[in-house]
Symmetry: C2
Subunit: 340 residues, 2 copies
């Protein structure tokens, strides 16, 4: 970077005009045909590119939105990010991705960091539970903020999430419909808001069918393959169930692995259902019945909300959006005889 990049001034000199004319031309304002030609030539010749930092400084606007992601290596995030990107691509905004991990900084610390980056808006993507206090702080940011995931019950902030409870209800209803009464649950990690919502949804749905949840059949896990595997082994020790509702697809897949390892066949011996519908779920054996979470749509909608808030100061959209998930029936569940 020791080489000096040409500036608007160099272009002006070469094209025999002034800086302001160059600037105007670059911003699509009208100039005389002659000067336009001279300018094009000069720009080409110098290989000139405008300096965005300078432009941003004077405009006090960056056309950049920040996306803060909890853990970029999580596969859930990629379709969400794609949804956000695609939407902002259309609007002519740049997306800058920041990642963090739980043990280093909090989301709000990141927000302060982004005060410096002069972003025009911000989206936080995380499946971890947020504190009221943190979310309150986010409301005070000098730019609009949209949350994907938990909003800690704060209704002043823009947020978007999937209706986790509703998704699990559908799952349990389906399982009930095909005869299952003894249903186990492999829960998500405690720190995850969505995990808790799904667990509550499970208990609720069971209650709705007049089945009191058997606490021994609800086992805590962590949304990983390994976690699902371990949880299933634990459940197999307990026994006395015909179906298991996993808190996500990965743990469902781990659970299937454990069942196979114990010589069971799915769905013959146990019905298993996941949550998320990640890409692989239709390709495993047996193809997994699950709840499709509209990841990309989630990202797209978040971008939409943020955009509206950025351009329209008094946007009055509903601050909370709850997307409906969809039950996808494949081959990991089987009809069973009801007891009574």
């Amino acid at each position: 970077m020791t080489v000096m990049m040409p500036t608007i001034k160099d272009v002006a000199r070469l094209a025999n005009t002034s800086k302001s004319t160059v600037s105007r031309f670059l911003n699509g304002k009208p100039v005389k045909k002659d000067t336009e030609l001279a300018l094009r030539k000069a720009i080409e010749e110098l290989n000139y590119h405008p300096n965005m930092n300078a432009r941003r400084l004077v405009l006090n606007r960056t056309q950049v939105v920040g996306i803060v992601v909890e853990d970029i290596s999580n596969n859930f995030f990629t379709p969400i990010l794609k949804g956000i990107r695609d939407e902002f691509d259309r609007k002519g905004y740049e997306c800058v991705f920041y990642t963090w991990n739980l043990n280093r900084r909090r989301e709000v610390d990141f927000m302060k960091l982004l005060y410096e980056e002069q972003v025009d808006g911000l989206i936080f993507v995380s499946f971890t539970r947020r504190s009221r206090e943190d979310v309150r702080l986010m409301c005070d940011a000098p730019f609009p903020v949209v949350l994907i995931g938990d909003h800690a019950g704060v209704n002043e902030i823009y947020s978007i999430d999937v209706d986790n409870a509703n998704g699990v209800h559908e799952v349990v209803n389906y399982l009930y419909r095909i005869g299952h009464r003894k249903i186990a649950h492999i829960a998500g990690p405690e720190h995850a808001g969505a995990g808790l919502e799904r667990e509550h949804g499970f208990r609720e749905a069971m209650l709705n069918h007049g089945i009191s949840a058997d606490l021994a059949l609800i086992v805590q896990s962590d949304w990983t393959h390994q976690g699902g595997y371990n949880a299933m082994k634990a459940l197999l020790e307990v026994g006395g169930f015909t179906a298991v509702v996993a808190s996500n697809d990965e743990s469902a897949i781990g659970a299937i692995g454990a069942a196979h390892e114990h010589g069971y066949s799915i769905p013959r011996d146990f019905s298993i259902v996941g949550f998320d519908d990640i890409g692989i779920s239709q390709w495993i054996y047996p193809p997994l019945t699950t709840v499709r979470q509209p990841f990309q749509e989630t990202g797209r909608r978040a971008a939409e909300v943020l955009y509206r808030a950025m351009v329209d100061e008094e946007a009055t959209a509903a601050p909370r959006i709850l997307l409906k998930p969809e039950l996808v029936i494949r081959n990991s569940c089987l009809h069973v005889q009801t007891d009574g």
Copy 2:
């Protein structure tokens, strides 16, 4: 963003000192104890945050590296990106991710776009074949550029990739060792450099064992589950093989699905091996024997090379790094009787 953010000037006024002193303090230069106290108080009170754009403008250095990714929704990319991030986090650099897709722009167009963003360095991540012409252009950038993937044989550019041919050699050798002679190949897409390298590696390895490749047993595919599924169906029509080497894990998984659907059991009826070792591969049924690609390490090394090139003008590291993949043996392959 209508609200005016406090500047260094406001801090100076409130702390009863000058802009320069504030600036020096912010950059860790020594100030008197009294002024330090006053400054801290003023900064706190005003909730002051430095404006990075202004700083970058005057420093002509951004502490930002650009990462241009072909398709953010591809799962391969996440561990690579994580490797890059982690490394630059340590170095105090910001990472800005840009995504593109094949039908919109070329990588070099992106590079020009980044002339404007004033990044200090750039990493291109793509599995698509690159043209000599494009790579040559990248060499002329005003900042260092590192390629992950194909380098079109241009040795002047920093690049890093996995030794695809070597990986496939190991696979074929292994298959040969356990008795397989009739081996099919589900190839990757034509536009992917790595796909071609793997296919060549396959032919080479077969030849090394004195087996002339049966062209009917090499079928083109596209690295997707669906593609692998279709390819396996086609192979099953042809018949006459005991093992299949898939160009990546996803198509291997699709192929297993097709085999199951036709009533075959893996590995009893066919041995199948993949490439990449994506997270799911050890959890499917049967657990997939594959070649582990060091994704995260790839990203880390790329970041390392770029960093060296950015800080040390005359870095003379070897421009091309080829990482060795590793055969991971699980349960998707079985020993068979050799014919002769």
